[in-house]
Symmetry: C2
Subunit: 159 residues, 2 copies
């Protein structure tokens, strides 16, 4: 199996969208995906892009992608957030995920990021074991908090 | 007690730095703070600012601050991340935290953010109860993963 990893371009967003939907289905939350290919193009390729992507390509077919962006830690400074890393199901087990993971970590290292961060589902033991094997830590004492759009609207309207 | 909430400026970063250190001490991790006032000025007030702040001011004294920035969800789109919200210890209990929290949620609402997200320490029950009372959800099945600078370096060097 032979593939390359390269920066994602506008033309790849259709396939990135397909992979995002595939991951959401794997995560048992397929109906949570509200964005479209047009959103990815608008938000990722404007004057101030909101994210960057790498894609894995085999025979001109996109078989994996990773989406990431910069964050800021008040303790460490500039940080990279890995939002999604997806390999299409029938292409898993051939090193595509590791190649994408390495690409993002290399990008973070080269820009001088002080940390790379992401979230993982606590039942996704394969992913957790993989991350730990590469030197990452799963934080035991932090939890993620979300205020969803409907709750935000309700909060603001009562102010 | 009378205070105002306003956007943080370069001149406020000295006091924001003081509050960041105060929060890190409360979180029992005072030695984790590696950034300086100069970093905050460089990273927050360049051509492409990495974050924004609101500060709470009483009699020309900064008594609280919140630092936030934009993220991107592959499910929802543009999202605001609340990185820190700090009220200096002797000024707690007077609504300063709620005023800063409201300012950031108002900012998110006005820009059309699809979600506001942050992390909380699982032993900080007061904070968790407060967030829940405002309509936020603590996600039970997601965990935060960090690859620190030293692990990142080690990973890259073995590639």
């Amino acid at each position: 199996m032979s593939f390359i990893v390269r920066k994602g371009e506008k033309e790849d967003m259709k396939n990135v969208m397909r992979l995002i939907k595939e991951l959401a289905a794997f995560e048992k939350l397929p109906n949570e995906v509200e964005i479209s290919e047009a959103d990815l193009i608008k938000d990722g390729f404007s004057e101030h892009p909101k994210f960057m992507t790498f894609v894995a390509e085999e025979n001109h077919e996109i078989i994996g992608a990773t989406l990431f962006y910069e964050r800021y830690s008040t303790w460490k400074g500039r940080v990279i957030h890995l939002e999604d890393l997806i390999v299409t199901e029938q292409k898993r087990g051939f090193g595509v995920g590791m190649a994408l993971y390495t690409a993002i970590l290399k990008y973070a290292y080269d820009m001088g990021a002080k940390r790379v961060v992401w979230d993982v589902l606590d039942w996704n033991q394969n992913a957790i074991d993989f991350y730990k094997s590469t030197g990452a830590n799963v934080l035991e004492d932090w939890q993620v908090v979300h205020m969803r759009e409907d709750a935000l609207k309700k909060f603001i309207e009562t102010k």
